[in-house]
Structure formats: structure tokens, C-alpha cells
Amino acid sequence: MFVAATAGILVSMALALLRALLGPTVYDRVLAVNTFGTKTVLLIAAIGFLTERPEFLDLALVYALINFIGTIAVLKFFEYGVLGLTRRIQREAE
């Protein structure tokens, strides 16, 4: 039954990747990559059950956190142009 789950997740991952390629603005691409990451978490979990190795869920946990941090970092980069020192840049702008 996890074969079906893995196949379905892979199909929706392909569709999300299509939006990442099409997306007119950078935010569309970030959104698509974020959902792609969520689906990757589920894919890792499903493959873990498929191969009878549920220890894969540890990888899924780590991937969920990395995906979140990565999304926030990319958004911050596109909002401010840098990853750090945003307060100083704001002060200098004022």
C-alpha cells in the first residue's frame, strides 16, 4: 500500500516542481520549493515504511526542520538582500 502512497507523492512533487519552473515571481518559486520540501518529508517517511526501515523517519524529521529554515532564509535574503545585519541596514536607510 505504500507503493501507491510513494507514487502519488512523486506525482504531486512533479506538479509542484512544474510551478517552481513556471512561477512568474520569485515568491511563487519559493512557495513551490517549500511545498516540494514538505512532500519530500512525506516521501522519505513513505519510502521508510515501503522498505521496512522506519528509522528513515529520523531523516524526515531533520528534513522538515531544514526545509523550514531554508525557506525563511531565502525569504529574508530576497526581502533585505542580505542574511544578517538587517537592523543596521534599516538604521542606515533611515
Binding site: M1, I9, L15, D28, T35, A45, A46, L57, F68
Partner: protein, 115 residues
């Protein structure tokens, strides 16, 4: 007992895949980034929730069959869902905020009627 478990697992996985595919099609077909966020939220809560529920039911079935060490798998599944529940709304909020700050105009129906 086994049949009931199997039906429940298939139902959960099927519902999860349904919501995931619908959310992804929504991401493809919605007109701008804010409406697409709505469809993406569907994927994260309902799709991932039902898929992880199906996996949890499978784990419970394995535990009933004697794999008593599988309770750690159950804990991990709950942790994955908890992290998704925390991170998904924060990422959505940050994305909408960054989009507004970056000057993406929200889509309205008037623009299409004008053309």
C-alpha cells in the same frame, strides 16, 4: 481486525493523497501567489496529516502483531506532524509578508474583466 486496520490505512492514505494532489493542482492553477498559499496550506495540514495518520495506523497494526519496539516510530510520526504544524503557518505568513513587501499586487477579479 486486520481487515479493519487495512481499510482504515487505505482510507487515510487515499484521503491524504487526494488532498495532496488537489493542493498541488491548486498551486498550479491559482492566479497569484497569495491564492496559491491557500492551496499550499491545504497540502501541509490535510494531506500530510492524513498520510501520517495512515502511517501511524500501520505502525499500530505492527505493534499489535508483536513489534513492540515500534512505539518509537509512532513518537517520530507525531513529532514530524507537530513540526509541520508549527513550521507551515510560519512559512506561509513569512511568504505572504515578503510578497507584500516585495510589491506583488494581490489578484482581483476586476483586472480580468478589464481586459
Amino acid at each position: 481486525m486486520d481487515l479493519a486496520f487495512d481499510v482504515l490505512i487505505w482510507g487515510s492514505l487515499g484521503l491524504g493523497l487526494f488532498f495532496m494532489l488537489v493542493g498541488t493542482i491548486g498551486i498550479l492553477r491559482m492566479p497569484d501567489v497569495y491564492t496559491r498559499l491557500h492551496a499550499a496550506g491545504m497540502t501541509d495540514t490535510m494531506g500530510a496529516g492524513f498520510l501520517l495518520l495512515g502511517m501511524a495506523l500501520y505502525t499500530v497494526e505492527e505493534m499489535v502483531h508483536g513489534h513492540t519496539s515500534y512505539w518509537t516510530v509512532l513518537v517520530r510520526l507525531v513529532l514530524v506532524y507537530a513540526f509541520l504544524l508549527f513550521t507551515s503557518p510560519i512559512a506561509t505568513h513569512a511568504l505572504a509578508r515578503a510578497g507584500l513587501a516585495g510589491g506583488v499586487e494581490p489578484w482581483t477579479n476586476d483586472a480580468e474583466e478589464g481586459t
